[in-house]
Symmetry: C2
Subunit: 215 residues, 2 copies
Amino acid sequence: MKIAELSRVSGVPVPTIKYYLRENLLPPGELTSPNQASYSETHLRRLRLIRALVDLAQVPVARVKEVLEGLDSDTMTLHDKIGRAHRAITPQRQLTSTSDAREAATTQVEELLRSRGWSVDPDAPALNTLIETIAALRTLQQDHLVSFLDSYATAVEKFTDLEVSAVTSSPAAPTPDQIAESVIIGTILGETLIASLRLLSQESISAKRWNPSTD
Amino acid sequence: MKIAELSRVSGVPVPTIKYYLRENLLPPGELTSPNQASYSETHLRRLRLIRALVDLAQVPVARVKEVLEGLDSDTMTLHDKIGRAHRAITPQRQLTSTSDAREAATTQVEELLRSRGWSVDPDAPALNTLIETIAALRTLQQDHLVSFLDSYATAVEKFTDLEVSAVTSSPAAPTPDQIAESVIIGTILGETLIASLRLLSQESISAKRWNPSTD
């Protein structure tokens, strides 16, 4: 299909498609004349993936590019591809806590990882975020939330189990490329899914408990 | 304390504190001379809350202002204050899905809400995000993830239960202001906590399953 049709089917404006082509997020089409290229279903699929990452998961374009390079790589392990997806949704946080609060939080997180048997890279951005978040909760005197950390981790492991079964129990034997794509999409859009479900569940409880105007 | 000491204790640079004062995120200090103001523990606490929301939860400054106005309001219900916190962490998403995919996703979400007994505002931004995310997962042929929606919702309800007990089971009877602050901080930083725990749990499983270079 021509670029105009790709735009029509995907709902993405032509200038945006051209921007993705210039930034190498989208591979070039097949030239059918010096000024015209033809795009395939593969382009349409890739374009939809880009839009989901940019619009729904709010991943910056530069990070989307890293994720897609990972997906297309024949040499990276799936673990490394997942690492790129993690970086895409973990903004680099500045250190905000005092050194005392940070030290206590670090000890608590190390104990959690040990008791759960989670082995993670000491440089994982999510590790820094977790430590800083716990330190902030303590500094803000919200220790009761921190005391539930282990229960949170138990609930979180449910998601991970679900995601692993989703990928490995797929009825049609998936190719490694399909597994990689599923895992990456699940990692990134799964976060959006969980966050929005959580807010809806909270809103429903809050309406019942704390909104005297409705019943 | 003077602004220089507030900066030293909080770790926030003086120009940033002045910016928060100008934007009315931080209430003015008490004037001790025409050019000098004095700041209290309340200012320090508020400043730490602002930093946690901006740096850790990546909430835009304009949204932080709305959240704090909610916290300080004597007339808003807790439910409305929570609504502001929800908007702060739910970016307004553009519609990206086709109308067919959106229609199917809407039906699925309506069924979920009904079966769970969740009553939510039809204009809740999280509702739109959930529908768009499901539509995107379907369009990207990741239906297996969508099929776990109900199990996701069950795991999510665990968080909400934990959060409600955290607030209501606090040993010292909290004032309404303290409850509001706890709920708002829990809503916003809880998302950061869950997201980072999830990534660490995933990384650990991924290292075991999909990284041949380690054992």
